[in-house]
Symmetry: C2
Subunit: 179 residues, 2 copies
DNA sequence: TCGTCTCAGTTCAGTGATTGAACCAACCGT
DNA sequence: ACGGTTGGTTCAATCACTGAACTGAGACGA
């Protein structure tokens, strides 16, 4: 998504950010990565994204330093958030919050809690019990009051993603789950 | 941008948010609206967006309740942020912040200040002088250390946008400026 | 009244991106 | 040797975006 605008335009951090995470699917891939998805096939089935597009998006996310591509012990490919990727959490959080407050009258679809003391995390990213700023790996995400559970059969990855779990905790499926 | 995914997928506030503000150009339009741009022609020239796309985007933003389309005293069309639109500020802010911290080593391109006491506004949206949460209309945006001023001639709207100014304060140009 | 200007769009052919489905090459365990 | 898993690639059809020209309504001045 090249936006070849005026120089003044280029002088905008938002434009630069959107060149990286502004394309279709990209932020959903990043969100899945926060949920612990790491494998090509898991992104593909969970998001329903065409594999060719997924290839392209992963490539730019790696090039821009948001994800790293590496192989695990068994030689399977893993895409993991870098520090720069984890720094996108406030963006994902802000969008989720806006989506909830604008379009989910029954309450938030996902609640965020401080894993240590179970405190709800507010819009300021502080735990309502201990008052601390909660670092991303200590955040637990779980179904909130606005969540409507699905009756349909889910693939293993979607199944894992609706369970309460800490962010960044890897979801392990398929061959890797045997080991 | 319809994302017809699984039911579990639809159960995600991020997906819903991206359906509204996830399309190309949309968030840039919203940012311009925060800067005080209100008129069709001003969006078009400032962003360099094709007018047909601008028409489509403004239409969905109005339909989704992010902008209102109304006519001013002189009968000119104005697009203004609604409360729901203003609630997008944390999203824009988080993206700008990520863009700055990832890609602007010389410092932020735009600094945000509390207009009342001139205090810098931190990542938590609090004024570093008075400690208050600063409401959007009281935020002043101005060039930061990472801003590289342009030598080129700018259109009047871009010119106005690089001056320090409060958010939401309308930029008035053209025929409306005579009145 | 005429011509010109501003403003907010519409129209349309050309180009580029996305989609969905099929295909492919390694590798693994048996 | 074989089927399953994994991480892709390929390709035609569709869809969205682009840029430039055009339209129509109202304002303005002569």
């Amino acid at each position: 998504m090249v936006l070849p605008n005026t120089y003044a335009e280029r002088n905008c951090s938002l434009t630069r950010a959107l060149e990286v995470v502004g394309e279709r699917w990209t932020l959903l891939i990043v969100r899945d990565a926060f949920h612990g998805v790491r494998r090509f096939g898991d992104f593909a089935t969970q998001l329903g994204i065409p594999r060719a597009v997924l290839t392209a998006r992963l490539k730019t996310l790696v090039r821009e330093g948001v994800l790293v591509r590496e192989e695990d012990a068994a030689g399977l490919v893993e895409y993991k958030l870098t520090d720069r990727g984890i720094a996108l959490w406030p963006v994902v959080r802000a969008m989720m919050h806006w989506g909830d407050e604008s379009y989910s009258p029954a309450g938030v679809k996902r609640a965020l809690r401080h894993d240590a003391d179970n405190g709800l995390i507010g819009a300021d990213n502080k735990c309502q019990i201990c008052g601390e700023l909660v670092p991303v790996p200590d955040i637990r995400i779980e179904a909130g009051p606005g969540f409507a559970p699905s009756a349909a059969e889910l693939d293993p990855v979607s199944e894992a993603m609706i369970q309460p779990r800490r962010l960044l905790e890897p979801i392990v499926t398929g061959r890797a789950a045997q080991a």
